[in-house]
């Protein structure tokens, strides 16, 4: 494949494979920061899921009598695997990732007709299946370095990946900042609560604020390269910031957290730039993308604050996927209506 267009001017028409490669490149800063804060487990997740995705994709393509090499070469399965892998807890057991990627590639993508036909974001379908089916394993996040003296060494990460319950890991697993924030903090103000707890950093969770900064940088690069338009990320993040501002109240004991806490916590930036912008499962019109993004932002904030899960990107995106064809339909309808009126 010709890699030259990747480096040259930004207004060239790119093939699917080149776009997917650029998405992978854009995800690198976020992934590297994740590896710094959570150790090698995250890289192991990524490698394992990419391997599984490639094998599953090849097998399904073979069964469907489609050209294996051509479809496998568009890297879309790799992007799906990557997005699912960074959503899984670091050093998750191998079968967790395998189950998730099976539902992502085989059920959500190919049973619905393959790339371009899937109504739901495959990576998020895989994530939702896992979260509903294996709530214990899916919430065993490692503590970020900074909140814990040292990260688990490679051998304990490996044994945890192989499914053995390493007792050395138990002390290194704990609540994420968003989990911790959902707990009752009594009469403490946010400032008091944060100073006592190593899980919280300057703006948001320890580690998480930098991970989100990494994905924000990657997202801005994708914007610059015209791979995505600004509509969806701006609407998602703008709505989240607006909601957070409305319910912030300056940080009292009943406060729901500052806009910075929400924009730089959990999967906010990953969701806004990398997941919600999936061109297949989202709306096609620019106005539609704005409505779609607002819906996702509202849902993420609502699930975080009033729902029973600490973060809500997956469910927010899947619910908005349901709404996407409807949004497009009504936008086209209103456009036709206005042209008739003229």
């Amino acid at each position: 494949m010709n890699l030259l267009p990747l480096l040259s001017s930004r207004n060239q028409t790119l093939t699917t494979a080149q776009i997917m490669l650029l998405v992978l490149v854009a995800a690198l800063p976020g992934i590297l920061v994740m590896a710094v804060f959570f150790g090698s487990g995250i890289l192991m997740n990524i490698a394992w899921l990419i391997l599984c995705a490639a094998v599953l994709e090849a097998v399904v393509l073979k069964i469907r009598n489609k050209p294996v090499r051509k479809s496998l070469g568009d890297y879309s399965a790799v992007v799906t695997a990557l997005l699912l892998a960074v959503s899984l807890p670091p050093a998750a057991p191998w079968w967790l990732g395998l189950t998730g990627i099976f539902f992502a590639i085989v059920v959500a993508k190919h049973l619905y007709g393959g790339l371009g036909y899937n109504p739901f974001n495959p990576a998020m379908v895989g994530y939702a299946v896992l979260l509903i089916s294996f709530p214990v394993e899916m919430t065993r996040w490692l503590l970020p370095s900074g909140a814990v003296a040292q990260l688990p060494d490679f051998s304990s990460v490996l044994s945890s990946f192989l499914g053995q319950t390493a007792t050395t890991m138990d002390a290194l697993v704990g609540a994420t900042a968003l989990d911790q924030f959902k707990l009752d903090r009594g009469s403490q103000t946010i400032a008091e609560y944060w100073t006592d707890n190593p899980l919280f950093g300057t703006l948001s969770g320890t580690g998480w604020e930098w991970i989100n900064a990494g994905f924000l940088a990657g997202g801005l690069y994708m914007l610059y390269r015209n791979i995505i338009t600004w509509h969806i990320p701006a609407a998602v993040l703008g709505t989240m910031a607006m909601m957070a501002l409305l319910f912030y109240d300056g940080g009292s004991s009943a406060s729901h957290g500052s806009p910075f806490f929400h924009l730089f916590g959990g999967a906010a930036m990953l969701g806004a730039f990398f997941i919600a912008t999936d061109p297949v499962s989202g709306p096609t019109t620019n106005t539609g993308k704005l409505y779609y993004g607002v819906l996702i932002g509202l849902l993420i904030y609502s699930i975080r604050i009033w729902g029973s899960y600490p973060d809500g990107v997956a469910f927010a995106v899947l619910l908005a996927n349901f709404a996407a064809p409807g949004i497009d339909h009504f936008i086209r309808l209103s456009k036709q209506g206005s042209s008739h009126a003229e």
Partner: protein
């Protein structure tokens, strides 16, 4: 006669299967198939009601005034459902409580009304009984397979709590996977749709394979409408 019997059995069990082809009675099918014992219990109850109502409708088919035939069918089905409900309550109280509202809801199972309208009201007693038996078996078998699969993936064992239905089957519980982390989705409602979808797909694949050597076998019993919902 021989070919008619064969045809009724074939259509009820496979060719025009109530659950896999007509997609009738899906509500109870999806709701109670989360364990083998529930699935078998509801499958047998539906089978009994179906045989009874088919026989009764066939017996009084000459007395029926066409304009009010549907209310009469429903009354007959409701009577047999009440019998099934009381039987379950008397001999399998725990199962009765586990199945809950889905026992009385057998009345609304479209499979039963469908067979009464399209078959039993036009045929004599014996074929009607056979049709009830075969359609009911087809429905119960799908329910059983779905129950087995969902229980296996959702808990790692099969045939748990079978003594709720069969008093002598208390120790039938089989651990298939040991050290298995339950795949909760399988016993939750989405799992029902998922596994049902896979079963329908499997049936269509098998049909396609079978259609290649022999194209025949599509002769229908007179009056039996083939209601095919799936493509």
């Amino acid at each position: 006669m021989q070919t008619a019997t064969k045809n009724i059995s074939w259509q009820g069990l496979w060719g025009n299967n109530a659950a896999l082809v007509q997609l009738l009675g899906l509500c109870p099918l999806l709701a109670v198939s989360n364990s083998t014992v529930n699935a078998l219990g509801l499958g047998l109850a539906t089978l009994l009601v179906l045989i009874g109502s088919n026989g009764m409708v066939s017996l009084c088919r000459h007395q029926l005034i066409p304009a009010i035939r549907l209310p009469v069918f429903v009354l007959i089905i409701a009577s047999f459902t009440t019998c099934a409900e009381l039987l379950l309550r008397a001999f399998a109280l725990e199962l009765y409580q586990a199945l809950g509202i889905f026992i009385p809801l057998i009345v609304t199972n479209c499979t039963i009304l469908g067979r009464a309208e399209s078959f039993a009201s036009k045929n004599s007693l014996l074929p009607s009984l056979l049709d009830g038996l075969m359609t009911g078996l087809g429905f119960a078998l799908v329910l059983l397979v779905l129950g087995l699969l969902r229980e296996l993936f959702g808990t790692g064992l099969i045939l748990a709590n079978m003594d709720r239905l069969l008093p002598f089957a208390g120790d039938w519980s089989l651990q298939i996977f040991s050290g298995y982390t339950p795949f909760l989705l399988a016993i939750l409602p989405p799992g029902a749709f998922l596994f049902m979808g896979f079963l329908i797909a499997l049936k269509n694949v098998v049909d396609k394979r079978m259609a290649k050597p022999e194209v025949a076998e599509e002769v229908l019993v007179s009056g039996s409408k083939r209601v095919r919902v799936t493509g």
